[in-house]
Symmetry: C2
Subunit: 504 residues, 2 copies
């Protein structure tokens, strides 16, 4: 069997990983072990699982140097960024541990038996329960935070499910080492053996999604691959939930007032948001609306000058590098965008400098709204809020929209908010959509094609994806989960319609 | 244009309704008015919407006599049942009004800006918001509670969305009159004109689902029609959520102890659950496991005797009547079931008496697990819990499972619970799955093919289907919804990770 290759995107050099593609038989065995682990995981209370999540965070940090070194060699991302991402992943496990301890995510409800306007009602108790082994597809652009040790893994496990990860082909060794860190920490903690599984190779990923033991799929990647996975799911005898984060252009609008008051600050912030991590973030503002006039011209000039002075940054892999050139060419040839700054290839590997394009708002069509992964922004010049609104009609719905406006521009700010509110999952004011905060309330989702569901993949409520409601009617107390028994409860719940806080 | 016909299932006689099928142009206009109403509805606070829901309940009850009379003529269901269903629909509107007033369904979360282990975090506030006009497909078997004035309409509106209903062809005049009751009450209350819309005809339903203004679809019906609607959604430029309640066999297991201790009580209860509403309930237990031995034999004899003595009941329409015979024949010919009681056709229309089939647990295959809508039960005779477990492997996942066991049968009861827990959305003990309580905690859903999502279509949490999360980052207070502003709040919310009760 041939081993899979990994590539250093800084040089393009390929090396043998020693890892073989997982065979269909191996995938079935891994999914089978996950199903066994599911039964074992259920026997443990919430506090045990919170402890497991914290042990994973500790294990990750203990292996920090080795993990960051592996990712450095495979992703071309900067060391500071990778260290930050590893910290973020550890923080994420700990935040989910807090959420599991807190218990609100269970949405526990007790309706006691009693007379109702419709006659006697039975005792009904409901809460969310885990659903089974979850397939998680690592994404290329976050080798930690959206990959083996990322948010989908953390939220699926927080819910009580085992996880089988499809390693991303762009960082196979990072995946292998991340997996080793997870399994070592889990084993020391006493978790069942099949709590984590991993498969390698595109075909193995497809086999995994089709496996009858798999209960849901978490995916961050392209619309194209997302559609392939959805088709596999549709052909299963029992379709399962598919949570895909797919494509996002993240429009950003700068009002005349903001361009005037904060020209250089916005130039700096926007350029950093567009070019950070070589523009390979799903919340990168791909389209920035800049007003016509002197302040807007100055802002454009500032961004152009920053782009022209920028060093080359390395893209993650050959496919992204090739797509970048192809999409940029299409935005110009078919979209009618004008090139303000031409990207220049770096000396080796997949490196290049940022690209800046410009177009008038009235010329914005679907052809100029293709997402270009990499350091590219299309500056859209406009006169009125109506121009922005009309241009947005050609922009696919997104994860985020951002509005830069001054306090005295109340009316414009409200009108712009109304123009984006139905199109996105998060509205950012006077900031930047990149650098997604991992917190209780973060929402990282949005209408199609941003995602294909009404859920988030970042923040505590991401756990909801991997749970389903279950109701017990007139159940003997011994068969109820602890959180649904009468008496004090360590989780919040709704009893006979009244929300009650946890009691400790 | 030819008018649509309605049929009295008691006689088979058809009459002209005077209603024409809605044209594609009319569907587009109705969806357009719904989109306008969506914008208007958003301007109103929760208390206003709660008032609207209560006004609808009052309007429904004011028109009770006329509505029940219309349904009597079109459905063949009994008057008491229809009166109860209308009361249930009114109760449902009022319960959802209470939930809207209470505000917990918003899942409001505030994370204030501040230092985090990952550096300074922005202010992030998140809650659920309505998604837009909802298409609701009325079901044949509940002309009120799962039709024009039913749970999908109530939950979509409670969430803040306008509703466009596809009238079920089996009760066109009931739908028309229900719609008149809704729109009259809504208009008196001052709701915008497009809050409710209705379309008639199968083609109009398909056009509605494809309309770009429609944001989600609620459906209760057959797997076959569900698949057709899903295909239309998949072909939209922007796919939308589809909430389908599709098929359910609802296995019921009687232990040896229960069969012995409560032979006649279970015979009476099970027969009522199987034959009530002529067996046309989605939670009807289609498969009942009865132990081998004297007590089980006595229980079977009791059910047989009840079935043999039962009067004919009228099925809803010609399709259900024809399917009933076809499916029953397949259960015998291909499934290997033995007929204990042959159904007899009634004197006129679509009436028939109940059918009872029997099979040994070890002979249960997929061929004997087809859902037969109507008064039919397959009695499965078994020796051990293992027999039950193995037979369940051939049973598609369901909305419910029911376990009848005695207090001294702890072990068996726990083993049976473990055998069904991953297969259903609700487990009923020593009761019957029909007569679904409308309450805060009810869950009426289940793994595929019971439904295609992780949501319920009965109970307060049904509202979640028609909402999506939205996050505001560093937003000016004036642009935040009332529930996300600092200071006292009349809805519960989580602030910096801590759940807080509403303050009044």
């Amino acid at each position: 069997m041939t081993a899979l290759l990994t590539t250093d995107p800084r040089t393009g050099a390929q090396t043998d990983t020693g890892i073989s593609a997982t065979t269909p038989e191996e995938v079935a065995a891994i999914a089978g072990r996950a199903a066994e682990a599911f039964a074992a995981l259920r026997a443990h209370p919430r506090a045990w699982r919170a402890g497991l999540l914290r042990a994973l965070a500790d294990g990750l940090e203990a292996d920090r140097d080795e993990l960051v070194a592996a990712a450095l060699a495979e992703t071309g991302l900067a060391e500071a960024r990778l260290n930050g991402e590893l910290s973020r992943s550890a923080f994420q496990f700990r935040l989910f541990a807090d959420a599991v301890d807190e218990g609100g995510y269970l949405e526990a409800i007790i309706d006691h038996a009693g007379d109702t306007p419709l006659g006697p009602g039975p005792d009904v108790r409901r809460m969310l329960v885990p659903i089974g082994p979850i397939a998680v597809f690592g994404s290329s652009n976050f080798p930690f935070a959206f990959s083996v040790v990322g948010g989908d893994t953390a939220s699926a496990l927080a819910a009580g499910n085992p996880v089988v990860i499809k390693a991303h082909s762009s960082h196979l060794l990072t995946s292998q080492r991340s997996f080793a860190a997870l399994t070592r920490a889990a084993a020391s903690y006493g978790a069942p053996g099949g709590t984590f599984g991993m498969v390698f190779g595109q075909k193995a990923g497809a086999v995994l999604v089709a496996d009858a033991q798999i209960a849901a799929v978490g995916f961050t990647g392209s619309l194209h691959t997302g559609r392939i996975l959805q088709r596999i799911i549709d052909e299963r005898p029992s379709p399962i939930p598919f949570y895909g984060e797919l494509a996002s252009l993240n429009p950003l609008v700068i009002t005349a007032g903001a361009a005037d008051a904060r020209t250089l600050a916005i130039g700096e912030g926007l350029f950093a948001s567009v070019s950070g991590s070589a523009g390979q973030l799903c919340t990168k503002p791909g389209l920035a609306f800049v007003p016509n006039g002197d302040a807007g011209d100055a802002l454009v000039a500032d961004i152009v000058s920053r782009a022209e002075g920028a060093a080359a940054q390395t893209l993650l892999n050959a496919r992204i590098r090739t797509s970048f050139d192809e999409i940029r060419a299409r935005l110009i040839a078919h979209g009618g965008a004008r090139s303000l700054v031409e990207p220049a290839a770096g000396e080796a590997g997949y490196a290049l400098t940022p690209a800046v394009l410009e177009i008038a708002a009235r010329d914005v069509t679907a052809e100029v709204t293709e997402e270009a992964f990499g350091p590219l922004v299309v500056l859209v010049r406009y006169d009125t809020v109506d121009d922005v609104r009309q241009a947005l009609d050609a922009v696919p719905d997104s994860l985020t929209a951002t509005i830069h406006a001054e306090p005295h521009e109340d009316g414009v700010r409200a009108a712009l908010t109304a123009a984006v509110v139905d199109r996105v999952g998060r509205i950012v004011y006077n900031g930047y959509p990149t650098g997604v905060r991992v917190s209780w309330g973060m929402h990282h989702g949005g209408p199609w094609p941003a995602t294909n569901t009404q859920h988030t993949s970042v923040g505590v409520t991401a756990i909801r994806r991997f749970l389903r409601p279950l109701a017990w009617q007139d159940a003997p107390e011994s068969l109820l989960p602890a959180e649904l028994r009468d008496g004090p409860c360590d989780a919040p719940r709704r009893v006979d319609g009244v929300l009650q806080l946890a009691q400790h």
